[in-house]
Every structure is written in C-alpha cells, then in structure tokens.
Amino acid sequence: MASNDDDTHVPGGATGTPGRLGRLGAWLDARLRFSEQIWPELAHHVPRSSASFWYVFGSATLLCFVLQLVTGICLSLVYSPSAAEAWASLEWLTYREPTGWFLRALHYWGSNFMVALMTIHVVQVFFFGAYKYPRELTWVVGCFLFLLTLAMAFTGQVMRFDQDAYWGLGIGAAIAGRFPFVGAIVVDLMLGGPIIAAETLSRFFTLHVFVVPALLLALVALHLWLVLKVGINEWPMPGRLVTRERYLEEYHQLVAEDGEPFVPDGVQKDLVFSGLVMVALVTCAAVLGPSGPNGEPDPTLINTLPRPDFWFLPLFAAFALLPAYMETALMLAAPPVLFLLAVALPFYSGTGEKSWKVRPGAWILVVTVFVTLGTLAWLGIRSPWSPQMDAWSATPTPVEMVRGRTPLQLQGALIVQSRQCRNCHALGGAGGQRGPALDDVATRLTRDQLIRQVIQGDGDMPAYGKNLLPAEVDALVAFLVTLHPANEPPARDAATLGPGVAGAAR
C-alpha cells in the first residue's frame, strides 16, 4: 500500500529497511503530513543556555495536568456526582474497588504536585525575568492558568464530598454572599439554591470536569504556542538589559549562534525531570495514600474540624484572622487587586535587568510572600478555630484535680464537664482552646471575679447566669479556686487583700 517515497517524512528519516510499524507510520504520515507541520516546530532551535534544570518546572506541571486528565477520567467512571451518593461512591472507590484508592491517591497527589510545581515555575519565571518583553502575553496567560488550576483544586476538594468539602463550600458561599447587591444571586448560581443541596454537587462537577478543564486546555495550548513562537527565555546574565528595540535581534542572534533543537536536545532535561516527578508522584500515592474522605457531609455532625486543602490554608487563616470591619472589603477586593497586579507585572516592569542576581526587589518580594503564606498556612493548621465539641464527655478531669477535693468541689468538677466548659477550656492540656486553659485560673482571678465571669461572661465567653443554679455556680467556683499550683497562692483581691469574703469563710 505504502510507497517507499513517503518514508522521507518519518521524523529524523529512517535508516535501514522500515518495519511493519514504520510502514504504517509512513502510510499515515503521507496522508496526515504531520512530520512536515509539527516536526519543524518541535525541532526549532532554542538557546543552549535554556536547556537547564531550572527550565523544567513548566513541562512538569504540564505532565501533572495530563496525568490529572487521565486519572480524572478514570475516577469519573465510578464517581457519582450527586449529593446523596457521592460520599458512598467515594467509600466504594476507596475501600472496595480494586486500585480505586490508588487512582484517588494519584489524583490527589497529582493535584498537590501540580500546584507545587506550578508555583515553583512561576517563581522561576519571575526570578529569571522571563515575563519581560516580548513574553508579556505568555505571563498573562500563565497567570490565568494559575487561577484556573486553583479553581480546579477548589472544585476538586468539593468533589471529595466529605465534611471538609461541605464546610469549605460553606465558607466559599459565605464569601460569595458578601458581594454587595448581587451576593444572593451569586450564591444561588454557585450552589444551585440558597444552601448546599442536591444541585450543588452537580454544578461543581460540571465546573471541575467540563468548564475549567476546557478553559485549561485552551489556555495551555495558547501558552505552549506562545512558548514556541516567542521562544524560550535565555539564561539571564547580569548586565544584559532587555530593550524593546534590540532584544528580538539579540535573541535571534543568540539562538542562531548558540542554539540547539528543542527536540531531541532541549527537551532532554524536561523528560528526565518529568520521569522523576512521576516516580515521586507514584511513590507518594503508594506510600501516603489518598486523602479522605473523612466524615459524611452531614451538617448535624458537629464534632468536625474542617480545614481546606493545603494551598487554601493561608487564605483560610487570613480570613479567619481579619477584624470583622475589614472582612468584606479585603475578602472581595484584595484577591482581585493582587491578581491584577501580578497580571500587569510585565507592563510596569517589562524591560531592563532579567537576572535575579541584580534584582534584590524580586528577592524581597518572593521571600515576603512565602514567609507570609507559610506563616498563615502554619496558623491554618495549628490554630484551634472551633471548640472541641466532645471534650466534655471524652476528656476526663485530670486525676490530681479530683483527689483531695471536698464534696462541693467535686460537684464543681462535674459541672466543668457536664456543662461543657471543657469544650472551650483545657485542663491538663486536654480540651478545647477557644478560651484560656483553667489549670491555674485561681492565680489569675479571685473568687469574686470567677463568680462574675461565670454569671456574666466576658468577650467571647457567654454569660451562664441563666443556665446555672446558684448552687451550681457555688460548686463550680469552689472547684475553680482550687486550680492553682502548689507553690503559687491564689489571686488576692486588690482592695481587701483577701480571697473574697465567702472564700475566706469556706
């Protein structure tokens, strides 16, 4: 069927007699003419200095994206995007379906790797000045790819429809609801109603599986097209300034003098690194396994500590720490403003020095951003945002606080448990951390202050005057005044220099 003349179109040209496969390839290529169109593109020359291990993170991100597509398609064969069945289908995937857990682990770690590699890629591009003239559009498209990847991460977290997903969605909807005038409409559009209900998951499934990936594919194609057409950034040298007048000429001269074909030479290190990323990814998935699903997404199960996935922790912590009066303004305005500043970067810093070695401002910016994000992420992981709802019944009173107590004090210790004081106040290092630990509360508050605090509350602490009988307050305070170290006396009233009238009597 195939004529031997067509063999000349096989990439690189065949040496020797072509096998059966080679002939098939030649037959196809004779009609598709791929080697004419695509091979020259792949083999276009790039600066030899760019064939560096610093230039591999973009392709590694692309590899993760492709893997996400493959594992995502596999998962969608089993996953049921309905609020009633999603959790059960995740359980099935994780515990029953052979290799289902591994697919979930690959998809989860793939998303982690993708976000991480993309972040490194952005930082590298920033440090190497690759966003400068004439690669402004590549940078702008990259910024939107970053945004879309985060959108994939958020919607993907919703696909893992468990307690974290439920409350994460609740936080997202609460933020959307803050938009002036249109808040309710946005929430309605996002959730398919005013609350997280049957349609919500369908909407996010559509976003996660159709809309965002389609946009990603289109923009990835555009990004790659720009990389091919504008050319890979050369290794930046201090003193080699970018000017709109001379840069293109200099670049073409550099490629002509000291270039090499992208395929097969330039792509070499990309492939090596991609292989390493793949091994690391499979290892993480095999050793660390998938994430969740944790508890059922049932809002009546309150004993949960919902946290977003890693990349949203800084945002989560920042929003939690904002003072109430600036919440709406910063939540709605700060992310778009920061994003626009990032997008516009090549337009206010499009020429001049590229090398990180002579751009201290770049270092200050990157270090500041990452220290801030790291600190916020740490706070997001460590901070006890919510009470420990089962502390009252699950964390025993420390034994040393039971021994040697009077009957009334023991009743007080019982009230600390049964009235759920422990949910917010720790004893002996166990319990909630919304309020201060009570281990040495008697050294801070006199008996009178304790009575007032319990009855009237203060700041975040509710007033319990209506919820406790007089005798119960008496017992509770009788117990609390015993909570001080043996070598440290209880607090004394500044006016009377005594422990309080009734305390003295007891």
């Binding site: 690189g12 290799t99 660390l288 009252w392 019944s393 009575i451 007089p470």
Partner: protein
C-alpha cells in the same frame, strides 16, 4: 565552534557539543531513544499502578474509616467518648462516681443502669444520653454499654450475702424518726472522717453544705453511702475492717439525716459587700 564550546555552561554540554561536532549523530536515532524512554516511563507507571492491587502502605484501612457516631459499636470507644469525661478514663478517679467497681455492678441491675443512661438522673449532673431524650446515643448503643461495662468491671461474683437495695424510692419528707436514727448512725459510722457535724474532718469539706445538698439527689446520697468512693479512700457500706455492714434501714436513715440539712433555695454565692463609709454615714 570555539566560541560555542566556551559558552556551553556545563562540562556535559561541552562534551555533547564536541560529540555533535565530531560525528553529527542523526537526530532520528536520538528521537527514537526518547520515544523508547517515554514508553518505558509509561510502562513503569502502569506496572506500579497494577502493583497497587497488593497491600501498599498507602492503602486505606477499612477499619480506620470514619463512621457516623451513631454507628459506633465498640464499647470501649463508646465509653471513652461519652462516659470517661466524668467517670474517669479507667472508670475511676473521675469527678463522678467510679464505674470500675464490682460492688456497683452487683447491686445495680441492667434495667437500672439502662434507665440512668437513657434518661439521666434528675437532680444530679448525670445527663440523658438517649437520642429520644435529646442525647447522642442510640438505644442499641446504650444496651451495648450496659452489658459491655458490666462485663468489663463486674469482676468475680460476690459471696451470697444480703446486698443493700440500690433504690428504695424517695423517703417521706420530714420523717423525724428516720432523721434522728440517721443522726445516730452518722455519729457512729461517719463522724470519724466527716466530723461530728458533717462539716469535715479527716475527709475534707462539708457534707451538709446547702449548695452541695442542692446538687445531689437522695438517690445519689444513697449510692454514695452504699458504694463509697473507694478510689478516693471512702469505704463502701460495709465500712472498714471489723465493722458490721450498714443495713438497708441504716442507709436510708443516714440519707434522711443528710437530706434534712437541705435548704429551700440556696442563695447565690456571696460576693463581698464592701463597706463604703462615706455612704453609710449619710442619714
């Protein structure tokens, strides 16, 4: 050629450039090597994926999966999550009565325990745990707890002897005879530790404190006399070495005497009324 060699950043690139210059290897061969490399990666990836069928460390353990609180069936988990807060991690030395107490499980019947857990005990801090009463446990879980905790803590059967009745219903209020007999029993059997008036002695604190008595029911007092708090050093109704066990009647009488110290409505704990001389001197 010379400038190219000088510009190449690494030795490897230099070698590669030199090789290319010398032999001019056809790009096609290397392209095939790359294709083979990619294929190798895909095959290795697939092999690893298939290896996932067998137990890898990342495979989630079905036993560790999250289950709804209402589906928990392990008695020890139920105890740790719902009871340990007050009754102690090991069933003793908690703020509330110890349950790791063989005598308790011999005196109290399953139906009684089930009722206490289901509805709580009015007049004490024991809350209702049944879902039907606003708690968090299903009836099945409560049954599991009752039988499971009995199995855990009942211990060896006691010799066949007259155990006191756990509950006798509430005694008629103001039974002066019982109160007087109870005072005598208290003086004989309790005063050594709790003081002649019940306001404390070797054992710290008052038993007749109006606030304390407002927070414990007669049944709770009766349980305290019958079972003591052996984890904190208070003996049960059988008393110390060489003492005769309290009879059912004596237990009721002591409870009546303690109960007679109750006041109608205990006041809020006192806060100091600071004397303000200037104000007091005003007419």
């Amino acid at each position: 050629m010379k400038t190219e060699l000088l510009r190449a950043r690494s030795g490897r690139q230099r070698r590669r450039a030199a090789t290319r210059g010398a032999s001019g290897t056809p790009a096609g061969q290397r392209a095939r090597q790359w294709i083979a490399g990619i294929a190798g990666q895909v095959v290795a990836f697939a092999a690893l994926a298939l290896a996932a069928c067998t137990g890898l460390p990342g495979q989630p353990d079905p036993a560790a999966r999250p289950i709804r609180p209402a589906d928990v069936k392990d008695v020890n988990v139920l105890y740790a999550g719902n009871c340990a807060g007050c009754h102690g991690a090991e069933g003793k030395l908690g703020a509330a009565r110890p349950l790791a107490d063989g005598l308790y499980w011999h005196v109290v019947r399953d139906a009684d325990v089930r009722d206490v857990v289901t509805r709580g005990i009015e007049g004490t801090e024991m809350p209702a745990f049944a879902m039907s009463e606003g708690g968090a446990l299903t009836d099945t879980q409560i049954d599991l707890l009752v039988t499971g905790l009995r199995a855990r803590w009942q211990g060896t059967p006691l010799a066949n002897r007259g155990l006191p009745a756990w509950s006798v219903g509430s005694a008629p209020a103001g039974d002066l005879g019982a109160t007087q007999r109870g005072a005598a029993v208290f003086a004989a059997r309790c005063a050594l530790c709790h003081g002649a008036t019940g306001e404390g002695g070797l054992a710290p604190g008052s038993l007749v404190d109006p606030s304390y008595l407002a927070l414990v029911s007669d049944q709770a007092l009766r349980s305290a006399v019958i079972f003591g708090r052996t984890d904190l050093g208070m003996p049960d109704y059988r008393g110390g070495r060489g003492e005769t066990p309290l009879t059912n009647g004596e237990i009721s009488d002591v409870v009546a005497w303690l109960g007679s110290h109750r006041v109608a409505s205990p006041r809020w704990p006192a806060t100091p009324q600071r004397a303000n001389p200037a104000r007091e001197e005003k007419p």
